[in-house]
Each structure stands twice: as structure tokens, then as C-alpha cells.
């Protein structure tokens, strides 16, 4: 059993009581909702004659179904329009703040809550979305829930949970040039497997994590769930506090000073006991790309699609399925695999620093012939900040499309999708069969800079082989 970790401290603080079934009733400090997983929860509430207990602890936005070319209402797709108007109605009826289109605060739920200062250390954060693990970057316990639990949180501001074990992912050394947080987390998942983290919260720690910006920490925690860990977190430190200071919902004045003192006290103690620890060396990690149909099927850019006999027996059936589905032969180097579509965006890599990294590669270059490339900022704030720096112009000049904020082709619940067997270089988080909107479409996950490099070469390319000119 872990003890003295941030996870234990936050858990204990939010524990309401033990339930007869043996699980714990846990208070939820921040509840985030969006249009896809909330309508049925509101309907269930109505069926049971219940109301929303703490409307001020729930915050809504719209992200999954919004078109990214024109966000003119009503949407062209009547189903999408119905989902948004249902959310609008539910929020209005229950007094919940909706950060809607054009509010200046709309965007992917996991992008906007941090940038508004809603996500803070020491909170429990729940959302009907598995990538809620993102918010753990702040030293929160943040996890995805299903629609029945969304209903429970709306009704009671709490839910029934079982405590997780804690595994420390200790990352020593430093990432080298051209290697990003995305590469680090793809490497971790590749090493520990997509179910390696089941039953665990991942505590990301060590020198390589401490120097990461908040946006990079969010990228890592975002993908903890792809490694099977329901939440991931980084202990709060000065980087966390500097990010939060001055944000709309961050504490101010004397509250701020007390908040920082309290937040600092929550970090895992020096002698904290964890249930498991795995050590990585950041300097040994190369830009990493997935080749298969799970986020765990990753390769360093200088490696080749694995031969079946090099894999553990248990991994072979999934690899066989991946060879067939992806139409990639064992032994083929991953560098050089041609792509059709390049997508930069999502809650994993749709923040300002991600767009900067991609723009640094795109600047002064051209998207290769026949490649469709587009950039979707994670939020209206990200879009505005990027435009203020002229990143939209850099992308447009290079032949990328510059879109309106939303989830876009991460899961293609809007018009952005792959067609037929198209293969994409994607900065998102899932490469499952059919994930990007075509039942036979294929996805290669990589960092935003690597996606930009793939766009200009028309094939998977080691970004380290391209000079970048961020200051031009």
C-alpha cells in the first residue's frame, strides 16, 4: 500500500465515507462536462426527479462534435446541432456555466479547464472522458468516468470509487533535442504496455519530469490512460504555481499565498512509499512513432516494424492483426512510411507550445504534394495566442489549413475524418482501428513536430534531421 504520496493525501481529503459495497464515496472538486457524455446523465437525473447539487462545481464546454471549418449555427449536421442545443438547454436549466462557441473560452475540455485556472493542485477532477487524466499534471487526482457516474456527480457531487495503487514512473536524465514529452509518454506506454497501468495511478517524477513545462506535463498525464493507468500526476511545484498565477479562476491575493503553501504540502513526501516503481532514462529516448493499432505499438524513429519472433508470445496476435490492418510488413523501417493526412491538434498536443514546435518545423517549408495537412488549436485561447504570434500565417504559408478549435480528427465525430484506407500522421492519442472516422483508416501517432516533418516530406521523418528556425 502506498503512503505519503500525493495520491494518498488527496484521496484522504476527499473521502466522504466508506460505502456498504466496500468502495469509497469520494467528493469531486471539479466536474467537467461536454456534449457527448452528459445528455443521458441529465435525462437520468430528470427521470429520478433529482437536481444538480452543486452547479457551481460543474463547468461545461463543447468540443467533440463541433465542425472546425465553419462553426456557424445551426451546424450542417442536425445530430451535432441537437447535441449542442441539448447541452445548452441542460446547462441553462441547471445553472451550469457553459463555455460555448465564441465565448473566448471554448475548446477541448482538457485544454480549457487548465488554461482558465479551474484545474488546481489537490483537487479531485472528474469528467465523462477518459483523458481527464490530463489534469493530473497539476497534482490533482483526475479521472474519466462513465455517464452513470456523470449522473451521480451531478446529483451528489461525489461518486463511488476504489482506491488505486501508485506506481512511480521515475524518469532520470534529460530528453535530447527534438525529443518531446509525447515521445517520452509513447516510450513509457510502449515499455509497460497498454494494460501495464491497470489498477494504478502513475506518479511521473524525476529530473526529466521536473524540467517539463505544464503543457508538456499535461501531454504526459493525458496519455497515462493509454497505458492503462486511470490517472497520472506530477507533484505540484514552482512550475505549476507560475502557470496558475493570474489565471481567471486561480486564487488571488492572500488566498494565493495560502493556496501555494497548501499545494506545496500535498506533494509526495520524500519518504513516501509507492506500490511499484519503474525507472526510465530520458536521454535514451528517440522520437517515437506508433506503427500499429494500439498506442503501445511504438517504435523509435530509427527502428523497424518488429519481426513477430522478436515479440513476446502474448503480443504476437495483436501484432499480426496490426501488420494486416496497417498493411506494414515486419522489418520495414518506420522512417519513410508514406502518409496521406497530417493532423496537428487534440487534448494531447493542441496547446500553444505544441503549435510552436510544429510551426518551427513548418516555417519556410512546404507541405509535400498530395498531402492534406491541418492544424486545429485546442481552444479559442490557444487559437488567439497562436494567431498573435503569427503561427497561423506560418502554417498557411507552408500549405497547412488553419482550423477552428475542437477535437476534430482525434476521433472524427465531426466532418474531419480519414477516407477509406488513408493513413495519417497524427498528434492525437489513439490509433485504434477506425478511430479517425474511416472504418479502415490508419493512424500513426507522433509528436506535433514529427507530424509537421511528415507533412513536409510526405512520409515519416526524423524531425532531428531537419533544421528548425524558431526565430526567423
Amino acid at each position: 500500500m502506498s503512503s505519503g504520496t500525493l495520491y494518498d493525501k488527496v484521496w484522504d481529503l476527499h473521502r466522504v465515507t466508506e460505502l456498504p459495497g466496500g468502495s469509497t464515496q469520494l467528493f469531486v472538486g471539479l466536474h467537467l462536462i461536454h456534449e457527448v457524455t452528459s445528455p443521458q446523465a441529465f435525462a437520468a437525473l430528470k427521470d429520478k426527479g433529482l437536481t444538480v447539487r452543486c452547479p457551481e462545481r460543474t463547468v461545461a464546454t463543447v468540443d467533440h462534435i463541433v465542425p472546425t471549418i465553419s462553426q456557424q449555427r445551426p451546424f450542417e449536421d442536425p445530430l451535432a446541432e441537437e447535441m449542442l442545443s441539448t447541452l445548452e438547454r441542460n446547462c441553462a436549466q441547471h445553472g451550469i456555466v457553459l463555455n460555448g462557441l465564441g465565448s473566448g473560452r471554448q475548446g477541448i475540455v482538457h485544454v480549457i479547464a487548465p488554461e482558465l485556472g479551474l484545474t488546481q493542485p489537490g483537487m479531485t477532477v472528474a469528467c465523462g472522458d477518459s483523458h481527464t487524466s490530463t489534469h493530473g499534471a497539476f497534482g490533482a487526482i483526475a479521472f474519466g468516468i462513465g455517464t452513470s457516474q456523470v449522473r451521480d456527480v451531478l446529483a451528489s457531487q461525489s461518486l463511488a470509487m476504489n482506491k488505486l495503487k501508485v506506481r512511480r514512473i521515475q524518469v532520470n536524465g534529460q530528453l535530447t533535442d527534438g525529443v518531446s514529452a509525447k515521445d517520452l509518454v509513447l516510450h513509457v506506454i510502449r515499455t509497460l504496455g497498454v494494460k501495464g497501468g491497470v489498477g494504478y495511478a502513475y506518479e511521473f517524477a524525476g529530473p526529466a519530469i521536473e524540467v517539463l513545462s505544464m503543457e508538456e506535463r499535461m501531454t504526459i498525464c493525458n496519455m497515462a490512460i493509454e497505458g492503462g493507468a486511470r490517472c497520472g500526476y506530477v507533484n505540484p511545484d514552482q512550475v505549476t504555481f507560475d502557470y496558475l498565477n493570474g489565471r481567471v479562476h486561480a486564487p488571488r491575493g492572500e488566498d494565493w499565498d495560502r493556496a501555494v503553501a497548501w499545494w506545496s504540502s500535498l506533494a509526495s513526501d520524500a519518504d513516501a512509499v509507492v506500490d511499484d516503481e519503474v525507472v526510465f532514462n530520458a536521454s535514451a529516448i528517440a522520437p517515437t512513432v506508433t506503427w500499429g493499432i494500439t498506442p503501445g505499438q511504438g517504435l523509435g524513429i530509427d527502428e523497424s516494424i518488429p519481426m513477430p519472433e522478436s515479440l513476446e508470445v502474448g503480443e504476437r496476435p495483436m501484432a499480426e492483426e496490426a501488420y494486416r490492418y496497417m498493411d506494414l510488413q515486419p522489418g520495414t523501417p518506420i522512417a519513410g512510411v508514406p502518409v496521406d493526412v497530417c493532423f496537428i491538434g487534440s487534448c494531447t498536443n493542441g496547446r500553444l507550445s505544441d503549435l510552436r514546435a510544429a510551426a518551427a518545423v513548418a516555417r519556410g517549408r512546404q507541405v509535400a504534394d498530395g498531402i492534406r495537412a491541418f492544424v486545429v488549436p485546442g481552444s479559442e485561447q490557444v487559437a488567439k495566442a497562436a494567431e498573435a504570434e503569427g503561427l497561423d500565417q506560418v502554417f498557411r504559408a507552408a500549405g497547412f489549413e488553419w482550423r477552428e478549435p475542437g477535437c476534430s480528427m482525434c476521433l472524427a465525430m465531426n466532418p474531419d475524418r480519414l477516407e477509406g484506407r488513408q493513413i495519417s500522421a497524427s498528434s492525437s492519442n489513439r490509433n485504434f482501428k477506425g478511430r479517425q472516422g474511416s472504418a479502415s483508416g490508419r493512424t500513426l501517432l507522433m509528436s506535433p513536430a514529427m507530424v509537421a516533418a511528415a507533412a513536409v516530406h510526405g512520409r515519416v521523418t526524423d524531425v532531428r534531421s531537419l533544421s528548425t528556425q524558431p526565430d526567423l
Partner: protein
Amino acid sequence: MSSFPSGPIQLVEGRALVVAGEDIDTDRIIPARFLKCVSFDALGDQVFADDRKELNGEHPFDQARFQGALILMVNGNFGCGSSREHAPQALMRWGIRAVVGVSFAEIFFGNCLALGIPCMTAAPDQIKAIQALVQADPSRSWSLNLEEMKLSTEEESWEVAVDSGPGEMLRSGRWDATSQLLDNGPQVDALMEHMPYLNGFQAVL
């Protein structure tokens, strides 16, 4: 189709079917395009839509011999990926009332629990044997007993497992957590009164 689960879940009895494979994610159980809905009603027809299309009538959920099955036999890490409750909702609306496998993704497990659908585990070689029996004779009747923690046919029986908390919630009929959570409203109030971030970060009592 039997009505949706309600009350204590002690026994699930009926025919079974198999969806074999590791890491079957919720995108496969219910592809994202079917999430464009404000009610779960239509999901039963859409379960495994893309896999079924690919197999052109040969998917277990389409084969005549498996129609009416209640117990789904799977392998490891079933239900990984997206948190969408649409996945268990789609299975339930197709007719599934229990799932037995090597392991389950956590959010999927919790979503099933909230619907009164037990997800029970057994060792990989036992699952293999069980799946083989289902395939060999789809008309065989199975009994999943949550009191005895056993999955049985007329001839054989296997031990199955579920964490004690969820197991108790299912057996006692208290798997629908909402009413319990609401009962403890006063404790939630008390906790909120002392939660630092709700009270200007004053010292915790």
C-alpha cells in the same frame, strides 16, 4: 429480450457467445459515429458495427446461433480506451447481462457495474476452455452464480472472481450508487465546509 438489470444480481443464466481477442477497445464495441445521440436507445443494433460489417454476417453478434445469448466471454483488457458508457449500454441493449473474461479495463468495469452487469474474471487457460465450449455448442446453457462465484454448465464449473466491493454491490442490489451517495449528503456538506479550495485555503481542521 429480458428487461434491463434491476435489484440484486445473484444469478445470470442463459446461452453465451464469444468475442475473442486482447485489448478490445470501446471504439470497436461502439464506433464513435454512433455517439452522436442524446439517448442510448438505438445502440443495441450498432454494437461492434465496424467489426460486424468487416465480417459480413459472420461476427458472433450476427450469427443466428448466438442470438439471444446473455453472457459474453472475452479475453484480456476488454473495454479499454474511451470511457464511453455507450459501450456497455450497447452490449446491454443487444441483450448481454454478464461478461466473463481474463481482465477488464477499469472504466468499462465501473460503467458495467453501474448498469448491473457483472464483469467476472477467470484465469487465461480457463477462459480458453470456456470459450471453446461455447463455440462447440452455442445452445449450451450457462449459469453465472455470484453467491458461489462460479460459472457452470450442467457438467462442469469454474471459479470466477470479482473484487469484493463490486461483488457485494451486485449481490445486494446496491450497484446503482446514486441513492447511497445521496443518503450521505450531510457528510458531503461537512466535507465541503472544510475543503481548503472551497474556503479560501484556510487551514484544514
